[in-house]
Amino acid sequence: MRFLIRRLGFFVLTLWAALTINFAIPHMLPGNPVTAMMARYHGRLHGQALQAVEAALGINSHQSLLSQYVTYLHNCATFNFGISVANFPTPVTSVVGAAIPWTLGLVGVTTVLAFVIGTGIGALAAWKRGGKLDSVLPPLFVVATGLPYFWVAIMLIMVFAEINPWLPTAFGSDSSIATGWNSDFVSTVLQHAVLPAGSILLTSAGVWVLTMRNTMITTLAEDYVRMARAKGLPGRRIMLDYAARNSILPNLTGFAMSLGFVVSGAVLVEYVFAYPGVGFQLVQAVDNEDFPVMQCLFLVITVAVLLSVLLADIVTALLDPRTRSAR
């Protein structure tokens, strides 16, 4: 239990840190929502009109830093992120809310898939260490970790959409098909997800293969595995129950810790495919200098990663009796 409380404390602390960074960046750096707003209206807004728009957007630069910070924390707690500058008068929450399901579907599913597939291959490679599989796959996956996500995405478009027009190059679905739980919509969504999901899988599975293989090799050298072998237990059982089970825990922690990197890659993939998720929206917001949306998206992404870390911690605690007593 202490372990979980510790992790929960860590979650709260990191959340606070992220909130504070999110608040500090706009105040430390040169760009500024008010001037961006003026730029957007090409100087046609002055005086009263500008103030009216500022008020509507909730921009207020006449408060002390501390009271701005308190207001900001309060707004975050109540999910009041203001109004999007680029999509005026749409509230930031509905811009961001529309993007979340897409990313959850694409990045969430592919990340879990990459973890499962990668861990499986890694375990197998370690088990058959020095074998054919182990001599070919790990080096290949090392190479894969060095590939830029967005370039893999561009190459997939080139091969599977431009040279051979098999798959759609962009968007989450065919815009002429109405959104809904019917086979037309589901199939268009799946079709549109193939290439982006492929790029994320190709580039992120490698990490799990390598870490799993490495942890498992260390585990295989442990005494209890040798003991099991000496007892003459079947190989499959040793691999799954002894080695893999005990290696998967560190890999799970690693998974949680590396999610930030995966999400980063996914941002670029979404951008290349104009996939309507949070990563794409983030780049759009930066392009449009839509600072309120930018801030909210950064928070959403961070909180999602933090929650996954917390989830991984809970799973670790459930699977590993040691964490329940340790520390």
Binding site: F10, L13, I154, I217, F298, I301
Partner: protein
Amino acid sequence: MATLFRAIRHNGKAAAGLLILIFFLVLAAVPDLIAPGNPATITNDVSLGISGQHWLGTTGFGQDILVQVVHGARPALLIAVVSGLLATVLSVLVGVSAAYLGGIWDDVLNLFTDVVLVIPTLPLVVVIAGYFSHHSITVMIIALVVTGWSFGARQLRVQALSLRNRDFLEAARVRGERRSYIIMFELLPNMTSLIVANFLGAALYSILTASGLEFLGLGDVNSYDWGTMLYWAQNQSALQTGGYVWAAVPGLCIALLGTAFALLNNAFDEISNPALRPVRRLRVAS
């Protein structure tokens, strides 16, 4: 050091990585010997295919793609090496201090490291870049260092912790050596391979993130880095207009350089953790 080189010689992955790295180092050192010309020069020969005059064809602005690719090696390596080095220095400072100082310092620094580690980096860097008006190389390096040190700090702390109570450090303490001396001359030399591995990891992170930013148009669009080349290729719809070389080659260079760092990083991981070394089949003596 000598052992490191011997290790590289015996590790196929490391050798491959080193070869690629040397290749790009040569390009970066003498680009004008290999592909003379100014990568920025705009001509009327737009969107040409591969030919004897333009080995890789030209861009939509009539620039020679080969010249751009060769001249792109220097800024790419510069960003990778400089931000990799700075991030590693930061990792060592935080990670080793945490381990060596112990107690509350360790708790605080370790917590700080973990916090930075889980905050997703690219969104953060994108947001930071979004607030800057100029997208210069300096801004990019700062953003990369600020976000790229935490992974290494965590690894280094763990190793430093395991070394802290070893006999040779104990001996140094008994000899009455100063703390700074012990860290500099006793502790760090024993961590070289992990530090090198971390540098390579940070360099890999830097080259991938930097090119991603440039691709998004958040780099200096007047420069001719590989990421910027891809930005322009995308901007001019190179894929749709048959400019496949333009879209493929700069990315291939990023991928190759990234692979070089990844292979070397992996090799150094194996060096610092002998358990991971490849199993060698016994060679039958002749």
